[in-house]
């Protein structure tokens, strides 16, 4: 699937990812859609702990926390009028399981084991994931993961839905292998 020189790089990426136990990072998400003159900016924090613990927390403009701890997935959204977090019990939360599984795979370097996406590495240290399922490609046409120059950490993610609609997520201040309390993945705090 990959030219040999690139395959080496892919192996290197996977090897480096194997040494990662935890990731903590801030992120800035820019959602671009045709009808908005300016992108919708969201900010938050990501916490990941192997094998499958994830906390994806938005702080701006809408506070929400998605927590995954193995099979258990829960989401809370800040209700301004009640001044507290309330559980989001919509079926959409269960569909976030797939998203969290994808993120765990990327952060773990398991790009080529991905049953949902075909992974290709390009020269500029970009891994492009294209949906294997035709139905899914009508939702997301491609995901590009941009790796940093100095390491194999993911610096930027582009989720391309269509020519006019895409989401860019930039990770900042990444901390690798810092101790992360398990409660981060099960409690709002």
């Amino acid at each position: 699937m990959l030219p040999s020189a690139h395959a080496e790089t892919m192996e290197h990426i996977v090897r480096e990812a194997e040494s990662i136990r935890t990731i903590q990072a801030a992120f800035v998400q820019s959602k671009h859609i045709k009808i908005l003159n300016k992108p919708l900016i969201s900010k938050g924090m990501l916490y990941f702990k192997k094998p499958d613990f994830l906390r994806w927390e938005y702080t701006v403009p809408i506070r929400s926390i998605l927590m995954v701890q193995g099979e258990k997935i829960q989401k809370f959204v800040w209700k301004k009028s009640e001044n507290r977090f309330i559980r989001d019990a919509s079926p959409h939360v269960e569909s976030m399981r797939m998203v969290s599984e994808q993120m765990a795979m990327w952060l773990d370097g398991r790009f080529e084991e991905n049953p949902a996406f075909d992974a290709r590495l390009s020269n500029d240290r970009t891994i492009s994931l294209t949906p294997r399922n035709e139905g899914f490609s009508s939702v997301i046409s491609r995901i590009d993961l941009y790796l940093s120059r100095s390491s194999s950490q993911i610096e930027r993610v582009m989720i391309i839905e269509s020519r006019d609609s895409y989401t860019e997520i930039r990770f900042e201040d990444q901390k690798i292998n810092v101790p992360l309390d398990d409660r981060l993945f099960s409690e709002i705090q």
């Binding site: 998400q29 009808i35 919708l40 989001d88 919509s90």
Partner: protein, 227 residues
């Protein structure tokens, strides 16, 4: 026993009092010859093109619902609205254009937003929330509760009452041709957006009544006036 009876009476009274706040039928009101009330009502909807981003909490019967982000571009002159509904994580679940007098044009839709009745209801709600009422202004005056009210009626005999409350907040009520209340919208005005030269609701609570009733609570995230 006597205390328990009093509590029941109080509970029943509170229930009636709460229901009394929302009359389910088209209310009568005294007509004022002065056009001041109409001028007041006209402030509610600007003629400037603009775009909004809101957080949306939807609640359906049985407690089902969820949180979404809605973006809308409103062109009052042509009465056109472009809208997009996204998950908080940024996935677009609906992109549609609503042109006046035409069928909705859906650019992208994921379940459950791929159902035409839902898209039509969404168009009706967006028009009620973001554009001046359809049809003619038929009267303006004060209700029995002393609320300044402007009434509009469309070609299907649906009525929309715009009300300016003492608090400075607004209320919109839509009645069907039989006079039955079908929508109630409470709009909270925030001062921080007053710089746009128009009054902007920072919170809108819409209740849809009937067999498929639902509630939408919308908080303003951003608003931009378009050139």
């Amino acid at each position: 026993m006597k205390r328990c009876f009093c509590l029941i009476i109080c509970a029943v009274w509170l229930l009636f009092a709460a229901c009394g706040n929302i009359s389910s039928h088209l209310p009568k009101f005294s007509i004022e010859p002065s056009s001041d009330v109409f001028l007041e009502c006209r402030q509610l909807f600007s003629n400037q093109s603009r775009q909004y981003v809101h957080s949306i909490e939807a609640t359906f019967p049985g407690g089902a619902g969820g949180f979404l982000v809605g973006a809308a571009k409103v062109i009052p002159q042509s009465e056109n609205i472009d809208c997009a509904i996204m998950t908080l994580e940024g996935l677009t679940v609906l992109e549609a254009s609503f042109k006046s007098g035409a069928n909705p044009v859906v650019h992208k839709s994921l379940p459950p937003f791929d159902k035409l009745p839902l898209i039509n209801r969404m168009e009706d709600d967006l028009r009620l929330l973001l554009l001046a009422p359809q049809g003619n202004a038929v009267k303006a005056g004060t209700t029995e509760d002393g609320i300044h009210t402007c009434r509009y009626q469309d070609i299907y005999s649906n009525s929309v009452d715009l009300q300016v409350l003492d608090s400075g907040n607004w209320r919109i009520r839509k009645y069907d041709k039989t006079g039955k209340l079908i929508r109630n919208v409470d709009m909270k005005i925030c001062r921080k957006h007053a710089g746009f030269g128009m009054t902007v609701p920072c919170r809108m609570d819409l209740a849809a009544y009937g067999r498929h009733g639902y509630q939408l609570s919308m908080e303003l995230i951003s608003m931009e006036v378009l050139p």
